[in-house]
């Protein structure tokens, strides 16, 4: 588990206090969008704008992944023609964007969330149902 990994890495540094789950926003159907509502548990930890910007960027990335554009159309035709053997060698458009998303989350964690004692978990690990934000204990305050 990513959480386990990070916890194993960080056990000596910080302990998990809580986990916040950002749920999906289904107002536009089954498109992958997450709610930008700022959770109350994060109020003292991170700026609302920063959080919303992160979620909005993720939403945009997911929208791009699911977009019915020329790339996905060409991909589909090619796959049909090659009896789907092309999937063995080529990465689908969605997967490419997912890699982009993973990189973005990693970058956000490094720059924004980890310094604040938070950790974003890629929603792909949860089946694109929730964004999990782990809140770590601020030992500096407790000491």
């Amino acid at each position: 588990m990513a959480e386990t990994h990070s916890l194993q890495d960080l056990r000596h540094q910080a302990a998990v206090i809580a986990k916040v789950f950002i749920q999906r926003d289904y107002t536009n159907g089954t498109l992958c969008q997450f709610q930008t509502k700022f959770p109350s548990e994060l109020e003292t930890k991170i700026d609302k704008q920063q959080f919303e910007e992160t979620v909005r960027t993720l939403n945009n990335l997911y929208a791009e992944a699911e977009k019915l554009g020329s790339q996905s159309y060409v991909e589909g035709c090619l796959a049909c023609l090659t009896a789907y053997t092309i999937f063995l060698c080529m990465e689908t458009h969605y997967e490419k964007v997912l890699k982009k998303i993973a990189k973005y989350i990693q970058e956000q964690n490094d720059k924004v969330y980890a310094p604040r004692g938070l950790l974003l978990t890629d929603p792909l690990e949860r089946g694109l149902r929730v964004i999990e934000i782990t809140i770590f204990e601020d030992r500096s305050l407790t000491q």
């Binding site: 809580a18 789950f21 959770p39 019915l68 159309y73 980890a114 949860r126 030992r139």
Partner: protein, 797 residues
């Protein structure tokens, strides 16, 4: 990927759990599952092979090589799509990890509603996968997985058809239809040219292939046409077959063209299972940065008491709203979040959310392990605040007592009513307490609305309770109706808690509590088929009014009842007078009878007696009447700590109701009949008795009320087991009579049901922490508490 490997196909990646993801567990090998896919594969490959071997060579020579090429391409397409449909992961959701549902305990709603393009769509809780199923997701029982955009489980490919492989399934159907048509057509062509030599092998084989093709064509073409329509409409088979959008609007459609292009041209959705986890090498170490609070934010924080902040909880708004519907549940003992004790919980959100309109009817998913979520902690705190104002240590036990599932509706009622109640209750409580002191134990006026099963060891609690209960009774009546619907499932599962609550007062050895009232309240609620906990108790049936009258006469409660609202008194007076006229056993008789009965039963006796007489006359006044009745009948029930009946009179005289003087007559009404005791018990089954025992236990250990409550919350029968046993026995004995006599059929059925269920639960208690007989010796004292709706309950303590 040859299609012939049907058996291996059945065990394809679509169903295999993969390492690191929380994947569904592997299922036992069931050979029968592979029969359809094997047959399909056999026929497909076999027939086509025969066609190519026997029919095509002649056709190639006779017509052109395009025939086999065309057929070959189509067959290849069929096979490719067949394999993709068979082996591809349809979009299985990995099981949710424990952390994710830590806040969804068994009281969380079964459904969450989400609005999609203006249409309300329900998301159901999947108990296997431990999350609320996203829209269009369904749990396949064959595969035991939740599948995204679940279409159906196809036995011919032995796989679920979902978001990821629907396209391949659809194309498989299209191509198979084309293939069957081609095979049949070319076979027919062959036969037409070989009419004279039909007995030749080639012709025979071709005929056989044509038969198979013709046989399969009709269902396959039908299915293909069906799916063409589905794709055009943007529906799944599941939605079509279950009629979800029958005559309604489909929120998932984007128009015919976009629906088709979405199915055919969208990029392949990602797999959720079987992904290698990319480890995040992030070091999180303190000190942590903290955001700078703007002045406005600080001001907002100061002003809103955290309520606004609470509204921005990380939990989705949906979850919050749904969980708020659970706020009617009794709060658990105050304790921090189990898993994350360090997090500061903002509990006021529940308060603010409770004030909103109740959400759409919810059913509550039953989960055997209960872990108090933040909702409950919030409720606990809210109630704790409320309780602190009015009562003493017994409030904690009250809260704990109200943890029973049956009490769910009550907390919300209390909360809504709390502000108003406290205003009135506070005044009333003061007066009551004053009166109590003078009278030696007046009717407890304080009640936390619906949560009517506090420990009654503290007089102040009682006084507080009755006052608030009087205020909240009417409100509770309405709200309980609304909330009971949402508790249906749980109510069906645990009908007893209501009963428990109703009976809880019976065994309370604290003076002044009107157990009967509570029991009465529970009874009408039960009879109405609602899972209201007896807590609310706002609906004293006419039957119980009698009892209440008797109780009220003895108690000092009328004092505070009068303060509450004069109109309560008048109906009460009417009732008391009527009850007076109907059955006049002398108070001493009643006391004697009460003394004879076990403590737990005493309170119920008075309630039950007057019931039949006044039932049809005063049902509309039952709230008020019971309120007063209990107060009047209270004195005789108290064994020791309460002043003789005449002490109650000062309270009564304060009210405008002169008939209070008819205490004796009213009291006498309640004395004579042991069977009515059973009647009151009949309203609350043995399960209710459990509740009583728990409360009695708490009452007896008032100092240790918290401990008792904690224990009580855990085990119903603990400690006070023995007392309940008596009640159970009596209940079993008396119920049939009382039920027939007093209860309308719904009550009876319900009571019988609960009766049957509950006695056993009661007798399987946790280790009794407090000797139940401890409170028995006190016997005879009756505590009156004002329940919801102004009814007074007598609780024999």
């Amino acid at each position: 990927m040859p299609g012939s490997s049907s058996k291996s196909g059945g065990r394809g990646p679509s169903s295999s759990p993969l390492p690191h993801a929380v994947a569904p567990p592997s299922r036992p090998l069931r050979p029968s599952r592979y029969v359809p896919v094997s047959a399909a594969t056999f026929f497909l490959v076999g027939s086509t092979t025969l066609f190519f071997c026997f029919t095509c060579p002649w056709l190639t020579e006779r017509f052109s090589v395009a025939v086999p090429v065309y057929n070959g391409v189509i067959f290849l397409f069929v096979l490719a799509n067949f394999c993709m449909a068979t082996f591809m992961d349809p979009g299985i959701f990995p099981r949710a990890e424990e952390d994710e549902d830590k806040e969804d305990d068994f009281r969380a709603p079964l459904y969450k509603t989400v609005e999609i393009r203006g249409i309300q769509v329900r998301m159901k809780w999947c108990s296997t996968c431990r999350f609320y199923r996203p829209p269009r997701c369904s749990h396949c029982s064959v595969c035991d997985n939740c599948v995204e955009e679940f279409d159906h489980h196809c036995p011919w490919v032995n796989n679920c058809i979902g978001r990821r492989n629907y396209r391949y399934f659809f194309l498989f159907l299209l191509s198979l239809t084309a293939h069957i048509m081609a095979v049949f057509g070319f076979g027919l062509l062959f036969i037409l040219y070989h009419r004279q030599s039909v007995d030749r092998l080639h012709a025979i084989v071709t005929l056989a292939v044509m038969c198979v093709a013709g046989l399969f064509f009709i269902p396959v073409a039908g299915l293909t046409g069906f799916h063409v329509v589905l794709v055009a409409r943007g529906r799944t088979t599941n939605e079509q077959v279950t009629g979800k959008f029958r005559g309604g609007v489909n929120p998932f459609t984007n128009g015919c063209w976009k629906n088709v292009s979405h199915v055919l041209c969208s990029s392949l959705a990602p797999r959720y299972l079987g992904r290698k986890r990319c480890t995040q090498n992030v070091s999180v170490q303190p000190p942590f940065l903290r955001p700078q609070l703007t002045e406005a934010q600080l001001a907002a924080k100061i002003l809103d008491n955290g309520i606004q902040g609470d509204l921005h909880r990380s939990k989705s708004s949906l979850e919050m709203m749904e969980s708020q519907s659970c706020d009617a549940e009794p709060p658990p003992p105050p304790k921090p979040e189990l898993r994350y004790p360090g997090i500061t919980r903002e509990n006021t959100e529940e308060c603010s959310l409770l004030n909103k309109a109740p959400p759409t009817p919810t059913m509550y998913k039953y989960r055997p392990s209960y872990s108090p979520g933040k909702n409950h902690t919030a409720l606990t705190h809210a109630y704790a605040n409320q309780v602190k104002r009015d009562s003493s240590s017994s409030t904690s036990s009250l809260l704990q007592a109200s943890q029973q599932p049956g009490f769910r509706s009550q907390p919300s009622l209390d909360r809504r009513e709390a502000p108003t109640d406290r205003v009135g209750g506070g005044a009333g409580a003061d007066r009551r307490e004053g009166g109590r002191e003078s009278g030696g134990g007046g009717i407890p006026g304080y009640s936390l609305g619906g949560r009517s099963y506090p420990s009654f060891s503290d007089a102040s609690v009682l006084s507080g309770r009755s006052s608030s209960s009087a205020h909240t009774s009417t409100g509770t009546a309405h709200i309980s109706e609304a909330t009971t619907a949402s508790f249906k499932s749980l109510a069906n599962q645990t009908p007893s808690p209501h009963r428990n609550g109703s009976l809880s007062y019976d065994n309370l050895l604290v003076g002044g509590e009107d157990l009967n009232k509570v029991g009465v309240t529970a009874a009408p609620e039960l009879s109405s088929g609602k899972p209201c906990t007896a807590v609310g108790g706002g609906f004293n049936p006419p039957l119980l009014l009698q009892q209440r009258e008797a109780d009220l006469q003895a108690s000092q409660s009328p004092h505070h009842h009068h303060h509450r609202s004069s109109h309560h008194h008048h109906p009460f007076l009417h009732r008391s007078s009527s009850s007076t006229s109907s059955s006049p056993p002398p108070p001493p008789e009643r006391e004697r009878l009460l003394a004879d009965l076990p403590p737990g039963l005493q309170s119920s006796a008075p309630l039950s007696q007057p019931g039949p007489h006044h039932h049809h006359h005063h049902h509309h006044h039952h709230h008020h009447h019971s309120h007063h009745h209990h107060s009047t009948s209270r004195p005789p029930r108290f064994a020791a700590p309460h002043a003789p009946p005449h002490h109650h009179y000062p309270y009564r005289t304060r009210s405008t109701d002169t008939p209070l003087g008819s205490t004796n007559t009213i009291q006498s009404l309640h004395t004579p009949h042991p069977p009515p005791l059973g009647k009151s018990l009949s309203y609350s089954s043995a399960a209710a008795a459990e509740m009583q025992y728990r409360l009695v236990r708490k009452a007896s250990a008032s100092a240790g009320a918290n401990a008792a409550g904690a224990g009580g919350g855990g085990g119903m029968g603990g400690g006070a087991v023995q007392a309940p046993k008596n009640l159970y026995r009596r209940t079993g004995r008396v119920l049939p009579e009382t039920q027939r006599s007093s209860l309308p059929p719904p009550h009876r059925d319900e009571l019988k049901r609960t009766n049957g269920g509950q006695p056993f639960s009661c007798s399987t208690p946790s280790s009794p922490s407090h000797p139940s007989p401890a409170h028995k010796p006190q016997g005879g004292s009756v505590k009156k508490v004002t329940g919801v709706g102004g009814t007074t309950y007598e609780i024999s303590v």
